[in-house]
Homo-oligomer: 243 residues x 2
């Protein structure tokens, strides 16, 4: 893990870019250490494009709640090498959406399952590296998009003790089944009128999770319209489980 | 409005029982005045039985957020006179539930619609009286059970600017239609495994509300199992809209 830049904000939060092998990432840490860590996931649109939304949440968690937060670039996103099957699946998805029809399960599988297979080990390697820093300590949370990555991490990574998930992406049937094996506390966001997401499928997924403590927060509006006031209950959820 | 008893708690909250004509009620006020008011609704089980839950919420709002809170006995509950049709409807409901079948729309209508017709004017009269007190000032919220009473109040009472509703009671089809006319911000609680409440019907009702800002918080467990941590987002919802 090699830090490549750093910036200290007025609120005391230190933002550092890093690389871990070929994977770029960003770490935000509060003034106090060691801090519990929240891994911040995101859709495969590239870290640079996602930066404002990710940094907004990360700096809020760090400045207001004293959590560290980190994110990494997904395989096949940003400046990382593409792979042919993923490009093909993205093209198939685009065509299906433009045709206005439902997106077939085979397209969803081709798009999401390889991403889960590749991304989850990278998140775990990043977690190893992050936990070796003196600034990081205590239990770990995961939050954010590509809910299938969150599902797999919740199942295989015992260091992750709570997850805040965004029920806003296409979910392979196999991942809905895998969700039944999730047992950690969950805080799930759903946009009621999400143009890219079937509401009933999202409710079925929420129902499938095996966790005894799971909360769904549904709000009006489209995919990117999560209200600002949802930041606070998300942070309070992690405060209950990471302290 | 006549106060019949008062008690000051360690947290500075003053609890006073009152009567308004034949209607008993309870008012909780914080140290600071004038305070915005939250009307706390409840199922028709009698104020005495509901007291621990109502007082828990009211004192939290008053002590932690500086809100006043008030509740009144519903018609036909507690020591208030019964009426024959309501007793008949309750008996029909009990029989339908014991038979394990779905509760017919006619039973729901007979149970709920007359209660809404009788209770809503009483809540409004109570609001008149409460707003004449120097301790009360500013906009008003409604929260709690008998969601049909909340729907009607939200439609007819312009002084109520925000409502926290509990999607946990049987709702007449006519009230689902009326919900489309609700436009104030809503904060709706749903118990995912509510034994007395059809989940899909509750989701349909949430969908029906005409409000641009509406949030659903769904949690695991049965009817009375709303987690303690839901108190805070409920209070923060009112803080956003009553200040």
């Amino acid at each position: 893990m090699r830090f490549t830049s750093e910036q200290r904000f007025d609120d005391g939060v230190l933002e550092r870019e890093f690389t871990l092998g070929e994977i770029p990432g960003i770490l935000w840490t509060p003034g106090s250490a060691p801090a519990p860590l929240i891994l911040i996931g995101h859709p495969p649109l590239g870290l640079r494009r996602m930066y404002p939304r990710l940094a907004g949440r990360a700096r809020y968690y760090a400045a207001q709640y004293g959590f560290a937060a980190a994110t990494i670039e997904l395989p096949g996103s940003g400046d990382r090498p593409r792979w042919a099957a993923a490009e093909q699946a993205r093209a198939d998805l685009r065509r299906a959406v433009e045709a206005g029809g439902p997106v077939g399960g085979d397209i969803v599988d081709a798009l999401v399952l390889p991403l889960v297979e590749k991304a989850v080990p990278e998140w775990r390697t990043a977690l190893d590296a992050l936990q070796s820093l003196p600034e990081i300590g205590g239990p770990v949370g995961y939050e954010g998009g590509v809910i299938s990555i969150g599902i797999r991490l919740a199942v295989v990574e015992p260091r992750i003790v709570a997850a805040g998930l965004f029920a806003g992406s296409l979910v392979p049937a196999a991942m809905v089944e895998e969700a039944r094996r999730v047992t950690i506390p969950l805080h799930v966001l759903l946009q009621w009128d999400d143009e890219g997401n079937d509401r009933q499928a999202a409710l079925n997924l929420f129902d499938a999770f095996g966790s005894k403590e799971k909360t769904l927060h549904a709000n009006m509006g489209g995919h990117t319209g999560v209200p600002q006031f949802e930041l606070e209950p998300g942070a309070r959820f992690f405060e209950r489980h990471l302290r």
